[in-house]
């Protein structure tokens, strides 16, 4: 039958297609596999990938992508979730042994930079998505990282006897700062991540007032790109 041929083509060789009345079985290509494929396709073709390319990469056709995940923005949201998780995970691991607040901050920033650089196109796909509903989407995405961070900040502030109501604004601010600096660093800076992380930590930890000793001064100054 010709299906043998077509199945081989479209589903690659990962276990013959299994249509027909279900026995409670999972889909041949489930949501996670589609998202995996989406990541690969994005890495390969850039942030402007077509849905069809994603489907091809998954070894299925477009409607399957819509059935498993949804429209483009929903693909983007799902991948944003993955990316946020990876950022959290990487940060947690990097912070690890660090003791001082500032040391933790540097570790967090540096791991964020490196994680985003490692998933450059994914980062661009997720942040550069689609028009029109961008406000909701960007905020939702940023909130993914910002809300946990706000809790953390509020806790610290409370423990220090300071007003915790600044937490949310600060958290969104830090997320935005990291976003933009990551974009800049990935695209046109060639300084090592550690150095940029130190610089940002100077800003975030000690502030613009700049009355505290500058740790970045310990590093050899470099011309900017």
């Amino acid at each position: 039958m010709e299906c043998d041929v077509r199945c081989g083509e479209s589903l690659m060789d990962r276990e013959r297609r299994r249509p027909g009345r279900p026995t409670g079985r999972q889909h041949v290509v489930d949501r996670e596999r589609v998202l995996d494929a989406a990541e690969r396709a994005i890495a390969q073709y850039g942030a402007g990938v077509s849905i069809e390319a994603i489907a091809r990469e998954a070894g299925v056709t477009k409607p399957i992508v819509y059935a498993r995940v949804g429209k483009r923005t929903e693909v983007s949201d799902a991948l944003a979730q993955r990316l946020a998780d990876r950022l959290m995970e990487a940060s947690a691991a990097a912070i690890g042994a660090r003791r001082t607040g500032r040391g933790q901050l540097v570790a967090m920033i540096q791991s964020s930079l490196e994680t985003l650089a490692a998933h450059r196109e994914l980062f661009l796909f997720v942040t550069g998505g689609a028009s029109e509903e961008m406000p909701q989407r960007t905020l939702f995405l940023a909130g993914q990282s910002a809300k946990p961070m706000a809790d953390q900040i509020a806790a610290w502030r409370k423990a220090a006897g300071l007003d915790p109501s600044v937490a949310l604004a600060w958290a969104y601010g830090v997320v935005g700062l990291l976003n933009m600096v990551s974009l800049w660093w990935i695209t046109e800076s060639d300084q090592p991540a550690e150095r940029v992380a130190e610089q940002l930590a100077d800003l975030l930890w000690s502030g613009l007032a700049g009355i505290t000793p500058q740790r970045s001064a310990e590093l050899r100054p470099n011309p900017q790109t």
Copy 2:
């Protein structure tokens, strides 16, 4: 002649169309008018406006938009330039009399928030633009504000006897922070701009270390949105 009718339709009533060999005259609808129309169309239809809608608003047809300004990204860039100018202007005006560094910072932040809120959809159009080449575009746009700011920061730091090489990273960070917080504030916060500006100034001026007296503590704490 039927042209009388068509001219009236397409060019509205702003001075009959003037085709034919030019006598050095300007275009009937010049670049600035197209950009004005683009702003109006964006304000009306949101960040997802079609080029055709912009053309209609200008009283011309699509190719004219392409002839005067260029493709969608170029429209976006031109409007970004306008917005950046307005931000600068508003900041300069707001800073005005302020004396202290921190006071200037608060004024700058607050005026940015208010300016962006006043041009909400334009802000979203400019930042939410198009896919694929987003990196270059976002950075170009951010750089518009970040580079002058970097010069300022470098000057301040040098004057204070501190390492100025942090300037670029800091500037992009501050721009990103303002971007994100503006988006958040415009979309889902109902706190007054002044309060948010104070909070951010706390972060940027004194840093996360939080060992300096907190001015925001002087304001009555509110539940976050």
